[in-house]
């Protein structure tokens, strides 16, 4: 089962979590993560992303439900399940007085792996940490500490890597370095699950997207399909003469006037084969409406995310 590439690497079934104070953080979560994919879990603050990750990794107990990681039940067979998972936490939790080398060595041992200096050297070199291996973690910058956490998570050669808000507080350069590293890991067969506030990050990297809100998984979808399905395109026409209202002959078209009547916006479904633009332009000409400029735009993942979170749809896989 563990080597079967067609089976999901993580099964989440019926996971509920109610904290001791009564707050229900997760409601009946069902999710499959495919082997070798990059899966982005999006959601506003407090949506339940970190709780879900923490339950899969064994940090928090679920109230009910079951999870298997790489074919192993995360409770009954926790050793094998946890050995397959690496976690980069959201907060910069580090042992400040330890050296970089000592802390990655500790992580490898903790996860039950025999010492392997050559492998750890490779991990540190890949993350540009090799020159800092003897430095104490407290003397490193925030970005470097983030790299140390990634090195710790990779120290035991996991097949599944969780990155909880990996870009929080890091500069653009490190973010791009991290994206490169994530792609390389995926190329080597590692499954990557990331949570992020930077929708751009998910748009750039993820194969599939999950959106979680108020403890419920409201969408799980292939990224390209999600953007096609829920994305909208718009044609914006800058008019030569402003209009106060649309002529009756245009009522059938999904048009809106904006910018004090100087701009006409046509929204259309990006999934349809025919956009209707050619016919619209002919109709406008027939009504004597002239324009001096036009441009088309497409919804970003961020637009889709905002529309989902503020108005949950029934789109479920």
């Amino acid at each position: 089962m563990t080597s079967d590439n067609t089976n999901p690497i993580i099964f989440v079934r019926g996971i509920n979590k109610t904290y001791s104070g009564g707050f229900q953080a997760l409601k009946n979560i069902n999710l499959d993560i495919k082997r070798g994919e990059i899966f982005a879990l999006l959601g506003p603050n407090g949506a339940g992303k970190t709780t879900l990750i923490s339950i899969i990794c064994g940090i928090v107990n679920a109230t009910s439900g079951t999870i298997t990681a790489d074919g192993h039940d995360t409770v009954r067979d926790y050793r094998a399940a946890r050995a397959s998972i690496g976690l980069v936490p959201q907060e910069l939790h580090t042992d400040a007085f330890e050296s970089v080398w000592a802390t990655v060595k500790f992580s490898r041992g903790l996860f039950g792996k025999a010492p392997n200096a050559a492998y750890l050297e490779k991990v540190l070199r890949d993350l540009s940490l090799w020159d800092k291996r003897n430095q104490k973690i407290k003397d490193l910058s925030g970005g470097m500490k983030r790299r140390v956490l990634i090195a710790k998570a990779l120290a035991h050669e996991p097949t599944i890597l969780f990155l909880d808000e990996p870009s929080a507080g890091v500069d653009v350069e490190l973010r791009h370095d991290m994206w490169r590293m994530v792609r390389e890991l995926r190329a080597q067969g590692t499954t990557i699950i990331l949570t992020t506030h930077y929708i751009e990050e998910a748009e750039e990297m993820a194969d599939r997207i999950g959106v979680i809100d108020k403890g419920e998984l409201i969408v799980v979808e292939d990224k390209a399909r999600l953007m096609r399905k829920l994305g909208k395109k718009q044609l914006t026409l800058v008019l030569r003469k402003p209009m106060t209202s649309l002529p009756a002959g245009l009522n059938a078209w999904p048009l809106t006037l904006s910018d004090n009547g100087h701009t006409l916006i046509y929204s259309f479904d990006s999934q349809k084969e025919e956009s209707g633009i050619a016919e619209l332009l002919r109709t406008l000409s027939e009504h004597g409406i002239d324009f001096k400029d036009l441009r088309s735009t497409e919804s970003s993942l961020e637009d889709i995310f905002v529309s989902l979170v503020h108005k949950p749809t029934e789109t479920q896989e």
Binding site: Y19, S20, S54, C57, G58, I59, V60, N61, Y78, R79, A80, A81, R82, A83, I85, L87, P89, E91, H93, T94, D95, A96, F97, E98, A102, K105, F106, S107, R108, G109, L110, F111, G112, K113, A114, P115, K152
Partner: protein, 253 residues
Amino acid sequence: MNIYGIRAIYRFEMARTFRTIWESIAAPVLTTSLYFIVFGKAIGSRMGDIDSVSYGAFIIPGLVMLSLLNESISNASFGIYMPKWAGTIYELLSAPVSWAEALLGYVGAAATKSVMLGLLILGTARLFVPYEIAHPWWMIAFLLLTAVTFSLFGFIIGLWADSFQKLQVIPMLVVTPLTFLGGAFYSINMLPPLWQKITLFNPVVYLISGFRWSFYGIADVNVATSIGMTFGFLIICLTFVWWVFKTGYKIRN
């Protein structure tokens, strides 16, 4: 069994000791030396022998126990509380490490440090007072058993505490008074009859009495009872830690 995991935790904890060698070893040795100077030399010279043992020598087992209990609790509670406080406990909780393995690492390291310290204090005492050890193997056994038991107790305090104040409260308000009243500086036979009975409710009495017996062959309570009481406390602590890890109390919820 995750041997590498146990080794990683043990080495991490021992490295912390050697990084803070001054606080971990030197300070308790200095404090104990002061006890010997004050009670052993200055006041002790005016005290009569107790059961044919000079007062300076009589207090040695009690002083070693005093440090052993405090250091075992402090080392183990700090060892598990720090990752909780710093947030690095996420790594332990997400690692393929069982509760027994975590205990072997954390409690093993804390007990090692305490035993090292106990032996160091015994060595320091030799500079002030001459003494003999009648049953050296029993002395080592009591030292180990007490260090492990109270390191376990410290581990529980570290799991329970959610502030540095709480970390200190039980050692300061419970353990230190019990140790002082447990016969570290006197034989319970010197107490009025009623207090001799009341003091038997103090578990530290059994530890100090048994430990003192291994030195001088004299005991306030039966040696077998001392060993039995220490084992009993060890089992209670083990059961509690097992329950904590099983239910996730305070750490996984």
